[in-house]
Structure formats: C-alpha cells, structure tokens
Symmetry: C2
Subunit: 342 residues, 2 copies
C-alpha cells in the first residue's frame, strides 16, 4: 500500500473500537501514527497496538490536527459533535454511527456492493447499520442477476449490537438465571438471558422501529434502488456477537436455486455454508470472528414461484461494523481519495 | 362437568406429561382414575397428583382396559405402537405426536379454531405441532374476516420443543460457556447456549425441514383451506420454554391494523400485548406459564399494501402442547364424544 497515514480511532475503548484496533494490525493497514480518542472517562487508559502501548486521549477540538483518517465508533451524538472538527482538520471521517448515513451528501458504502459511491465524499463516509451490511452482502449478488422486488426479513441480533456492556450484562444475567435469581437488567431494556425481545429502538408512527427502518432506507441508498420494497422484524436474541437473518426475496420472475447458490459462492464477502445431508447451516458461533458472512439454506419459496428463502449469520462487530469501516479506509487509499495531511 | 372419566397419560414423565398433570389438576378435569404410563425406564417412579401419589406403570397391551381418554405425549413411535390397543380398548387417544396428524381420518384440532372437526373422530384425535398451534391462534381471527393468501413465518423456538433433556442441556451448556469451557451437546445437534441454529428436523428435497412443513400442511388442514400459501423458517433459539414467531400475512386486499387489533383483542386463546409508548411487546419470559398466546406489534407492512406484520410469543409446553390436548379432552366431554367405558 501507499504512504502510511495518520489514523485516529474515536471511541477506541468500545466493542467496535477494540475490533478496529485488531483489524488494523491484522490487515497491516499503513499507519504512520495511531491516535486513540475517547471520552474523558476513558482517557489515560493504555491500549496495546502491536508492540506499542498507546494512551487513550480525551477527544478535543485540536485532536484531529494532522490526522488523515478518523474511524469513529462512539455513537451518533459524538460523531455529530466532532465531525466538523475532523473534516476541517483535513481528515476523512469514516463514521460507524447512524448520524450521517441518510445525508444526501454522505456516501453510505459497503465496499463489495457500491465502492464507487466513496468517490463523492466530502469528508465524511458513513458505515451502514450492521444488520443492513450483512443482508446487503447476501442479497446484492442476486440483485445484480435479477432485481429483487421485495424483501421480508426477520433478524436474530446478538447482544454485541448494543455494545460491550450489553454483552457483559447478557453473561451476568445468564449466570443469575442459572443461580435461580431474577436478573435486573441495566443496559438492555429487558432480560435477554434465556429470553428475546423486539429490537427496542424508537418506534415510528407506522410501528416500525429505527433498526428496521435502517434496513429499509439504507438498503435503498446502498443499492441505488429507491423502489425496492422491504419489511423487517428486528429481534434481539441471547447470542453474544453474531447476527443471523431469515430473508425472503421476491423477484419479478423465478430465480432458480442453483443460479442463486452459484452467485453466492463466487461473491466477495460471503461464504456459502450449507450441508443439507448433515443439516448444517450458518450459526452465530461459526460466524463469530470471521470476515465473511455465512449464507446458506437457499430454498425455492414453496409459497411463491418468484421467491427465494435464504439464511445468514455474520459477525456483527467485524463485518457488521469494524471490518467494513477498515475496508472503506482501504478503498480510499486504493482510489486515492484520502486528502493526506502534510 | 359430567361423569368422571378414567384418564391415562402416556409419557407421564416428560416435559409435556408433567404439564398435562398440572393442567388436569388446575382445571379440575373430571377424573375417576388416573393412570400414568411410560417406558420401562420410568416405571416405578412416584408422581404426585393433588393429594395422591401415583406410581408410573410400564405401558403394556392391557394398560388401556377401562380407560376413557389417553393423553399421549411420548413421541411418534410410541403413539404408533400403542394407538391400536388404546382404541380397541374403547379409549379416545389425544395424541401429541406427529404420527397421525395428516391422516385423513384423524381430526387435527385447535379447539379455538376448528372444534367441529373433533366430531368425526374414530378413536384418535391429533394435537397439532406447537409452532402451528401458536400461529393458528393468532392468524385464525384475521382469516375469518379476510382470507389470508400467503404467510411468511420466521420462528424463534425454545429448547422445550426438544424436550426436558434439551432444556437441561441448554442450562448446562450455558454454565460451561460462562465458565470458559466448550460445551459438547448430546441431546441437541449443536451448542444452543449463546447460539442458535435452523431447526434440525429432517430436510425434504425442497430444502424445507419437517418442522416447517408441519406449519404448512397442518395449518391447511386445521383451517380447511388447502390453498393457503405458507413458507416458514424454523430456528431453535436459547430460550427455555416459550416460542416466538414473526409472521407476515398477505391478504387479497388491505386489512387495516385497527380491525386486526380488535379481532385479536376479542379472540379466544390469544391476548393482545402491545404498548408502543413503552416499546413493550410479547416476550418468551412473559408468555411462559400462560394459557394465552401473546400477540402484538401489529403493523401495516410497508412493503405491501395488502400485508400485515405481527409478532407472538406462546408457551410451547402449555398451549403449544399440553393445554391444547386437555382442551380437546374437555371438548370431547362437552360434545359427548367420549365413548365412556363401562
């Protein structure tokens, strides 16, 4: 790769921040200097990166001086607070939050799907919602062969989507249930251990929650297809870090399963995992820690000759967040879209 | 109720058998004599029923002499083995297994949906699949107003559907994961703790598993509607004893949500549970131990003007199995369909 860059991670101590650090090291991302930024609470912590130990700094208005790329994963309000400072300092901010995703001047990029969109950035590139990324990776290879008309998605989302503290709470609450105690969840709205609940993001007047509408609106933007019809039911399940999704796809005409299977098998970012003889298909424990989204059990929908059913599991922290962000950064380097600071 | 009956429970020591006993007591079912039958392994165990302690007997060819109603929940092969003996002895067998469900001469009954079907019994009445019962209770009130054309269902099925030993294995494996160990499941095909997997029943040549095809075929039989189109994705999740389902319903024309809500609110066997302001909807821990199936988050599907989305949680052991069987027995008494032995 090219000239090493000055990189900052905003939200370095969270679940996604931790994974960003691991991925930058693992993928030999060309780093000149790495800054770890977080709130005042986390400032002063030492975090290992390769052979270095880096102190976490409190993010401030001059934190972005000399920074080329900011990987932000500290939530929407933090991204909104610091985006202008980062862009003014000449950095490109790759933002994991939902703050800018639907902004018409902000590209929303899944590198395997719409890498060309990155070229139009004006300092901010948004990383899509995790559930959306996973679904898009599986659906895009089929959509390119025959356009998808309608998607009915049901999700099985892990605790990691609510952050590292939610993962810890799931484990603590599970232990309490096993010990015969009644958990009192603090991070999640309801007990998740041995239970599940509809995703608790804000509901709109149609009764859809924000998470479901992200799948609808972000997919339309990423696919550049405002007409694709999508409905989703998002559910939080007691799994630690990989999301699964049951996806029903309707086309204008039949889509034979062998063609669909072949398209998934050769598509980037997804891995066909199905062994019908062994009744073995994607599972969260197998998807955890993997870059690829596992896709399988591709079936002709017996209720509709023009529909297919498929099932996927993908690492929510990795491809659903951190990996996609690092891939966007790599794409910026490849396409010479980083305005490298002097 | 009428004259007390001689009742036998076949499979008295399993998860459903235990619940059958509790329900017979709770509902003051008119029992003259209660026989507890099981395999040789369980024979000799003492089980409490009200103030009595009843010894479990090994099921034998003469076990059904003088028995009026057999509640069978010991699996399909056991039901097949003993059905003829029970019927020849003059008993009515209410069978929880899948052995006879699709037999054209065996009624398949959900008392809130098709009580009239029981009248045609010839000694055996089948209790439907648990996932099917729960879905049917929620869909039937709507189907009576405007016929459902197509159902797309995704399930979130608890360990109890695989029996009491699977529930124990889920707890044991969860403890192992919390202790940093790697579980080695024996009852379930894969680790269920902090994981999930597609239902592992046998796959047909179309790639649908038996559980999914039960939802398709049994619903058609119960609704007496061979044309209703159904597709399902059945998933086992790390929950102990209630199943949940995300259900997309397509009609021939729009079905307004207020009418749907009103129909669910007044239908028997279901309870409307939705608080949009509090983001509170049916959850397995709330459905556990309840007779009613909790239904909520009824939404106009934004992807199809003729479709509705709904969500449910229902106790798999109770309404999904034991309660429905006891309700069938009560129906037989009410309709004078028990051929009471002298």
């Amino acid at each position: 790769m090219s000239k090493p860059l000055n990189v900052a991670i905003l939200g370095a101590t969270g679940a996604v921040g931790t994974e960003l650090l691991a991925l930058l090291a693992e993928r030999n991302f060309p780093i000149a200097q790495l800054k770890l930024l977080a709130s005042a609470n986390s400032a002063g912590k030492q975090i290992d990166f390769g052979s270095q130990s880096i102190e976490v700094e409190e993010v401030q208005v001059n934190s972005f001086d000399g920074v080329d790329i900011v990987l932000a994963s500290a939530g929407g309000s933090t991204s909104k607070q610091w985006a202008a400072a980062a862009v003014e300092a000449g950095a490109v901010m790759i933002d994991n939050s939902s703050a800018f995703r639907m902004h018409p001047q902000v590209p929303l990029v899944v590198p395997e799907v719409n890498p060309q969109a990155a070229a139009n950035h004006q300092g901010i590139i948004a990383n899509p919602n995790c559930t959306t990324i996973l679904m898009n990776l599986a659906v895009w290879p089929l959509h390119q062969i025959k356009p998808v008309k309608r998607i009915v998605a049901s999700t099985y989302q892990s605790a990691s989507g609510a952050g590292a503290r939610a993962m810890n709470e799931l484990k603590q609450n599970a232990q309490q249930v096993l010990d015969g105690e009644t958990p009192q969840p603090q991070i999640l709205p309801y007990q998740l251990a041995f239970n599940l609940f509809l995703h608790n993001s804000e509901l709109d007047e149609q009764g859809y929650c924000t998470e479901e509408m992200k799948m609808v609106n972000e997919t339309r933007k990423i696919f550049s297809d405002p007409k694709i019809q999508i409905t989703a039911t998002c559910v939080r399940v007691p799994v630690l870090r990989a999301h699964s999704e049951a996806i029903n796809l309707e086309f204008a005409e039949p889509f034979d399963t062998e063609s669909a299977r072949a398209a998934i098998a050769k598509a980037p970012g997804v891995k066909l995992v199905e062994d019908f003889a062994k009744n073995y298909f994607p599972m969260p424990i197998d998807a955890s820690g993997q870059d690829d989204v596992l896709v399988g059990r591709i079936r002709q929908d017996i209720s509709n000759p023009n529909a297919l059913e498929l099932w996927l599991s993908g690492d929510q922290i990795r491809k659903g967040a951190a990996l996609n962000a690092v891939q966007i950064a790599e794409l910026l380097i490849e396409q010479d879209l980083v305005r490298v600071n002097a």
